[in-house]
């Protein structure tokens, strides 16, 4: 498995790891094939993602994807964040081995679920 330097760097020093107390949205997704799991917490203010944290039970690519995604969406509006597809994550990481693309999908999915969760919670308010 050849990872790019960027992937390795994010794997070794992942940004925004952790949980957020009282988050505005949580996305919890698991990949049924490989068993990897990702959790994403978001804090939203005036439609802007003011804070984001993630945790993952996953391989190097999953950790790097989670880290990169959180960097990409932090400070963005919800609409802007929703445009961050797994492809953009992969590109930002300088590429992922083909077999590892699904890890970036996991990150994208976690984000979508978190935003969904946010809207659901909003609706309930």
């Amino acid at each position: 498995m050849q990872y790019t330097e960027k992937v390795i760097e994010h794997f070794q020093h992942p940004r925004n790891v952790g949980e957020i107390e009282n988050p505005d949205g949580i996305g919890h997704v698991g990949n049924p094939i490989c068993g990897d799991v990702m959790e994403l917490y978001i804090k939203i203010k005036d439609n802007i993602i003011v804070d984001v944290k993630f945790k993952t039970f996953g391989c190097g690519a999953a950790i790097a994807s989670g880290s990169m995604l959180t960097e990409l969406i932090k400070g963005k509006s919800i609409d802007e964040a929703l445009e961050i597809s797994n492809k953009i994550v992969v590109e930002a990481l300088g590429g992922l081995p083909p077999k590892k693309t699904h890890c970036s999908v996991l990150a994208e999915d976690a984000l979508k679920f978190a935003i969904d969760d946010y809207f659901k919670k909003q609706g309930k308010k």
């Binding site: 794997f11 068993g35 959790e39 950790i63």
Partner: protein, 396 residues
């Protein structure tokens, strides 16, 4: 950076004496061993001497050793070769659910050709039960294929007992000794086996060379057809340097196997003790005693395996998730699954397989590094703080 190789079950460095022994066969004694002239006959002589070394190593007779391109080909040859040659007797084969893919996928291929395969279960230590082998034998059964020792967690199977049963019932018995050879004694008469696979690169010999032992009288069909090589059982110009190298490696192993087994058991146990002292919630896979001396397979609760491997790799330490051939795929280990290991633990399994070159300092260094790595990764994991039941081992 330090380089510490703890993946000897994947492959081993070639012993320097082995290289020395091989070298003359590239440019000096380079003849085709099937050639009539002296260039060929010199090569032939070396090949036959090498064959005798293999004969001695496993207690076979001359003429029962066929050279192949490796363990995978030997397994394919044994299983397909016996299956096709004996299909008029029956089309049933017994194997286990924890075999190497070379065996399993040969069996799966045969299933498509109308053979029936029984995949025996294993207990939580990865042991098959000889009684279940006995029960599985039918009139139609033509072959039993069980590995001597498992490559992922090292459990040593009760081969001699199965051999006795196979002999009583008159069913051919093949063992995959790719991982056991050179680590524990392997003796075909004692174990009552009819066919046995070996591979050069697992015993400090070269890659691309292996052996299938075929007991005299065993009905088998070639896998590779062509010229009259290897008693018409395996065609193709003999890989002379490979054969010489394999034989030399085996000759060395024969002398060192007992002492190395003790040394490696000690080192391996030291690694385990040290990890256990430094890291909480570690699970050992495989049989605690009936296990290869060099193999340690562990799961660290809450952490995925590849992440650990990558982190160790950054520090120059090579370990693996199990079989090298399934790394890079998404499949979890079929071996741990068959043992009933909780899937999330199975996904975190790390194989440390020690070898000749490893020292106590290396082992201590690895345990140190690992402790930091596991706690770092547990910090990223959503599963470690929210501690789930400790009884993970039983669930599935």
């Amino acid at each position: 950076m330090k380089k510490i190789y703890l993946d000897h079950n994947a492959t081993t460095p070639v012993h320097s004496e082995v290289i020395k022994e091989m070298l003359p066969y590239y440019r000096d004694i380079y003849g085709n061993a099937s050639s009539f002239h002296q260039f060929g006959q010199q090569a032939r002589k070396a090949v036959e001497e090498a064959r005798e070394k293999v004969v001695d190593f496993i207690g076979a007779k001359s003429g029962e050793i066929i050279f192949t391109s490796g363990g995978t080909e030997a397994d394919n040859f044994a299983i397909k070769g016996v299956a096709y040659a004996n299909q008029t007797k029956g089309k049933h084969i017994i194997t286990s659910s924890i075999e190497h893919h070379a065996v399993l996928n040969s069996c799966k291929y045969l299933e498509k050709q109308g053979f029936r395969i029984t995949y025996l279960p294993v207990d939580k230590y990865g042991l098959i039960n000889p009684e279940e082998v006995k029960k599985a034998i039918e009139d139609e059964t033509i072959l039993i294929s069980i590995m001597h020792a498992n490559n992922e967690m090292g459990t040593i199977e009760p081969i001699a007992e199965v051999g006795k049963i196979a002999k009583e019932k008159g069913v051919y018995f093949h063992i995959d000794a790719v991982q056991s050879a050179g680590k524990i004694p392997v003796e075909v008469k004692e174990l009552n086996v009819d066919l046995l696979s070996l591979s050069g690169h697992k015993v400090y010999g070269p890659k691309g060379i292996g052996v299938l032992y075929i007991r005299k009288g065993t009905k088998i069909q070639p896998l590779i057809h062509g010229g009259h090589h290897e008693k018409n059982k395996r065609a193709g110009t003999e890989n002379v340097p490979g054969i010489i190298g394999l034989a030399k490696a085996i000759e060395i192993a024969r002398i060192t196997v007992k002492e190395e087994a003790i040394r490696l058991t000690n080192l391996r146990n030291r690694l385990w003790t040290s990890i256990n002292e430094k890291i909480e919630d570690v699970f050992l896979h495989g049989h605690p005693q009936e296990r290869l001396p060099n193999t340690l397979n562990l799961s660290f609760e809450g952490v995925e395996g590849e992440a650990i491997i990558l982190d160790l790799d950054m520090k120059g330490i090579a370990v693996s998730t199990g079989s090298a051939c399934t790394s890079g795929t998404l499949e979890p280990s079929h071996v741990l699954k068959a043992m009933g290991v909780n899937p999330r633990l199975a996904q975190g399994a790390i194989r440390f397989s020690l070898g000749e070159d490893n020292t106590q300092e290396e082992i201590d260094y690895v345990a140190d590094m690992l402790s930091g790595i596991v706690s770092r990764l547990r910090g990223i994991s959503p599963f470690y703080q929210k501690k789930e039941s400790k009884d993970l081992y039983k669930g599935a």
